[in-house]
């Protein structure tokens, strides 16, 4: 039992870091932020799922995917399709030529629900598909790439190309996907209105809980032998192969896990923000996610979450005043991090926390002071 908790939390230091993050997400932010800002925060937390997945995949496994947006998007689309079908009941769509199908299908002269929309009539099935669809795509890509030993920069470029293809496909197939506008006007989930204040709070907490859950899973993977093998593969892939491991299987697995986590983030995005569009699938969001992870620290699960939140709050604040300069600033930030702080914020924290040994110094002074005080008191009473 102790072994399991150590694996999930990553020892005492990991547990403290995780507890502070949980305290911020569950107590401090909900108390200090108004609902609008909390909603924004909830949106950023959904990106943090992707950043955490990149810590596994890129930071530890050395596999740079520039297409995590597609998994985020697929998870989001799965959830959006369910919500859209519920919003398109025959009564509220009775002015359409074909009532009971989503409005954009009606505009595109579709008279029947396409077959691949049918599973999204059921919530349990949708929840399964939120996990399965991104994972399955990752498995197909991973199997095709890793079994052929495609890696490094080639893998990065191919994932980017696939993300682009997927976003073009979604935009082009307007009648089936809602096109460039995405899937909008989402209202209820099994009759529960997701737009009310109370629903927003509940979704925020579910979201934060799922993120912590994903981080525990990621921590378990990283502290197991699998995690050590990831580092070993990043370092010397050949050596791992010639130590009797089928390297491709390990890569496929971690790519699938990363895709699944990203998909959960996407689904929570749809629920909290109320729509999903191709702008979260393509190249730009995929690269932004990599920047979030890099800024926070690609080796640190907790760092990646802080990185995501900080960069996004920075964006919101900065682009409210200088909208056109934001992209330059983010590009500059990325370059600066890669050049000067390859381990990101977490790396800086580790370096200075260790250098000044904050915890150690404090306890030393406390001990010294109490000793002195005891001595003085002793002398007084002699």
């Amino acid at each position: 039992m102790k072994e399991l908790s150590d694996k999930l939390l990553g020892g005492r230091q990991g547990a403290v870091g995780l507890a502070i993050l949980a305290l911020l997400l569950f107590v401090v932010f909900p108390l200090c932020l108004d609902l609008f800002r909390l909603g924004l925060l909830g949106k950023y937390v959904t990106y943090a799922f992707v950043a955490v997945s990149l810590v596994l995949l890129w930071g530890n496994g050395g596999i740079l995917s520039l297409g995590q947006g597609m998994f985020f998007g697929l998870g989001g689309y799965c959830m959006a399709m369910f919500l859209k079908l519920e919003a398109s009941d025959p009564v509220s769509t009775k002015i359409q030529t074909t009532p009971g199908i989503p409005d954009f299908m009606d505009w595109n002269q579709l008279t029947e629900l396409p077959w691949f929309w049918l599973p999204f009539k059921s919530l349990p099935l949708t929840l399964v598909l939120v996990l399965v669809v991104p994972t399955l795509l990752a498995f197909i890509i991973g199997y095709a790439m890793f079994k052929r030993r495609v890696g490094g920069v080639y893998f990065a470029i191919i994932t980017q190309a696939i993300a682009l293809i997927l976003s073009i496909l979604i935009i082009g197939q307007q009648g089936y996907t809602g096109g460039v506008n995405g899937i909008t006007d989402l209202k209820t989930m099994l009759g529960w209105d997701i737009r009310t204040d109370s629903a927003k709070y509940i979704l925020y907490f579910v979201n934060a809980g799922l993120l912590i859950g994903c981080m525990l899973l990621a921590r378990y993977i990283l502290t197991s032998k699998f995690g050590m093998l990831l580092l070993a593969m990043r370092d010397k892939e050949e050596r791992v192969r010639f130590s009797g491991y089928d390297v491709s299987n390990f890569k496929i697995f971690i790519f699938c896990v990363a895709a699944m986590m990203s998909g959960i983030g996407g689904a929570m995005f749809t629920l909290q923000v109320g729509f999903m569009s191709p702008s979260f699938v393509g190249i730009v969001p995929s690269i932004e996610m990599v920047i979030f992870a890099a800024v926070g620290g690609r080796m640190s699960l907790i760092g990646a979450v802080y990185g995501t939140l900080l960069v996004n709050f920075g964006r919101t604040m900065f682009s409210e005043t200088f909208p056109e300069l934001w992209l330059f600033l983010m590009g500059g930030l990325f370059i600066a991090v890669v050049m000067f702080f390859p381990d990101g914020l977490a790396g800086i924290y580790d370096k200075y926390a260790r250098k000044f040994n904050i915890a150690g110094v404090t306890s030393k002074y406390v001990a010294k002071f109490s000793k002195k005080a005891a001595k003085m008191i002793g002398e007084k009473y002699e």
């Binding site: 050590m228 093998l229 580092l231 370092d235 010397k236 050949e238 192969r241 010639f242 009797g244 491991y245």
Partner: protein
């Protein structure tokens, strides 16, 4: 091809790269518990032979049998699991892991995805790590990051990683390259100890070192065997002196 008593039986093995035959109709047999050294000038095909055995390079024709299992069709990890360990020419270790972790990763339990996720660090593992670390003289450095080891210690660590798998055939590509004279002696002792219950195949240039360890020597030249036999026999062979030892 019929079955044999040899640990490793290579017959008629050929590989060509764009018409150039790096290994040309090579046949070679290695006995149980034998320590064989392969020598030869640069470009003779020594490393290519190791690559062919461990599956890094696919052969054009011929057969490699390990305990009568045909290896030429197996994937690299399957060849390792059959019982063959291979050390690369440049030390190939995981620099970001500690010495202990380097050895632990090489422990042949939990080799599948699921197995590695549910792998538990057992008493047997730590005993094995400590035993091997003592064998390769790294006991004091177990908690050190492997990147900080000296070049010679990195070579030993890689040999240790192979010993963790307890292979029946151990293949070492230039194990003493870049080592000091003292380290060479220690490595020779190490090899003489570890070949007690396994076969070892070594590629080496250092003739003094070869003399200390070899049971039998094979001289390769242009992908073919030039001479084979005891060190004295090979050293006095005129062809060998002409192409290799003479200069």
């Amino acid at each position: 091809m019929s079955n044999t008593d040899f640990v490793l039986a290579i017959e008629d093995l050929t590989v060509s790269f764009d018409g150039f035959k790096a290994v040309d109709a090579l046949s070679m047999y290695i006995d149980k518990n034998e320590l064989r050294v392969v020598i030869g000038p640069n470009g003779a095909g020594k490393t290519t032979v190791l690559d062919l055995i461990c599956g890094k390079t696919k052969s054009s024709s011929g057969s490699i049998k390990f305990n009568n299992i045909e290896l030429t069709q197996l994937a690299e990890h399957e060849i390792v699991r059959a019982g063959i360990g291979r050390k690369f020419q440049t030390p190939s270790i995981y620099e970001n892991l500690t010495v202990y972790q380097n050895l632990e990763v090489s422990y042949p339990v939990g080799r599948s995805v699921w197995g590695s996720l549910t792998f538990k660090r057992t008493q047997a593992l730590s005993e094995q790590v400590n035993k091997i670390a003592a064998e390769v003289l790294l006991t004091e450095h177990l908690q050190m990051e492997a990147a900080l080891l000296s070049h010679g210690q990195k070579q030993w660590l890689e040999i240790g990683m192979l010993l963790m798998q307890d292979p029946e055939l151990l293949m070492l590509d230039e194990p003493v390259a870049g080592m000091s004279a003292k380290e060479r002696d220690q490595t020779a002792d190490l090899l003489n100890r570890i070949c007690q219950n396994r076969s070892v195949l070594v590629i080496e240039h250092d003739m003094e070192f070869v003399k200390k360890i070899a049971h039998k020597v094979t001289v390769l030249h242009q992908g073919k065997i030039l001479a084979e036999g005891s060190m004295e026999k090979v050293q006095s062979d005129e062809k060998v002196i002409e192409v290799y030892l003479g200069h």
